[in-house]
């Protein structure tokens, strides 16, 4: 995934008029069934990446779909022009949001945060109403320009899920900001705040944290080579069907 394309300032601005969904391929059977028909691939199966612009009801795609935006648009400006036209046709209800842009589970969230080189905010609450209250608080601040796109989010019921995280203290607070390690299988606490903090205070603390953190940068070949050497492996929820990925995994296995 070409992050330089997606981090283009004009594209980030244009994205505010869209509901942006980025899924983790091969991590949900239901999501794979939704994705598979969107892009016609040479293999006929779901491959690693999918890109589509869709109407608000997700009943039809708008423009060409493909493996990635840069497969269709030569530069971000072309995509931005298209997005502006689509946004004008579907003005929607402005900045309406009522859901936190969160991941489905901690393991996946930590990995995705590592892939993006961003911190992960974990709302830990054993009781559903307490957890939901924290999610609601995060929802009110996650889209503000101070924090937009700077953190990933996930809610967990069991503090034990954070056992691999250095510095986690169950008593120190229910909002836990984690800096993931290189492989997204562990991490360390960079901030912990009590669960009853106000949205204003939480936003202030997260903003301060965002200013102290830097986006982690990795080099693809070095990352994969060292990942093989150190035995880091990711088990997908459903089988990988991308022929390129299957071939790469077989080559990795042969080298070991």
């Amino acid at each position: 995934m070409d992050e330089s394309f997606l981090s283009d300032k004009r594209l980030v601005e244009a994205s505010r008029d869209f509901v942006c969904i980025r899924l983790a391929t091969y991590e949900s059977k239901e999501e794979a069934e939704f994705l598979q028909p969107l892009v016609r691939t040479r293999s006929g199966d779901l491959e690693n990446t999918v890109f589509a612009l869709m109407d608000p009801d997700a009943t039809r795609t708008i423009g060409r779909t493909g493996r990635s935006p840069q497969q269709i648009y030569r530069h971000p400006g072309q995509l931005v022009d298209t997005m502006k036209k689509i946004a004008a046709a579907y003005p929607g209800k402005g900045d309406y949001v009522n859901r936190l842009p969160q991941m489905s589970d901690f393991r996946l969230a930590l990995n995705v945060a590592s892939c993006d080189g961003l911190p992960l905010v974990v709302a830990v609450g054993e009781q559903a109403d307490r957890r939901n209250a924290m999610i609601k608080t995060l929802t009110t601040i996650a889209f503000g320009e101070a924090l937009a796109g700077k953190f990933h989010y996930v809610a967990v019921a069991q503090p034990a899920e954070l056992k691999s995280i250095d510095g986690f203290d169950e008593q120190a607070g229910a909002y836990v900001v984690v800096a993931p390690d290189r492989y997204g299988t562990s991490g360390s606490v960079v901030l912990q705040i009590q669960g009853d903090v106000t949205a204003e205070k939480l936003e202030q603390r997260l903003t301060e944290t965002s200013l102290q953190q830097a986006k982690a940068v990795k080099h693809h070949h070095q990352h994969v080579r060292e990942g093989v050497q150190t035995g880091h492996r990711w088990k997908t929820a459903i089988p990988v069907t991308d022929p390129g990925s299957i071939g790469a995994m077989k080559r990795m296995q042969r080298r070991q």
Binding site: R22, L53, C115
Partner: protein, 91 residues
């Protein structure tokens, strides 16, 4: 009538033209370098001292689809595998 001597010889004209070409190339290179620098600054780096502003992604399909339907906003959909050849931490 005698014709006046030309102030520049052919050789000096060549030297002057060559100099102008070199100067023009330098200006172009500097301009390109400046444009490249500006481009690099533009890529989500309005916050050079910390994390850059970025796209806010819904990571769960049903959440995103519900928000799109309720808000009437169009959908920007991507999917990528959070592992490369089975190694996590890399798209």
């Amino acid at each position: 009538m005698k014709s006046k001597a030309v102030p520049f010889s052919f050789k000096s004209l060549l030297t002057l033209t060559g100099g102008l070409v070199v100067a023009w190339c330098c200006v172009q290179l500097l301009g390109h370098s400046q444009a490249q620098t500006n481009h690099n600054r533009g890529a989500g780096s309005d916050n050079p001292g910390g994390l850059p502003t970025g796209i806010v992604w819904y990571g769960i399909l049903t959440d995103g689809l519900e928000v799109a339907k309720e808000s009437g906003r169009p959908i920007f959909l991507l999917s990528a595998a959070p592992q490369c050849a089975g190694i996590p931490g890399m798209w």
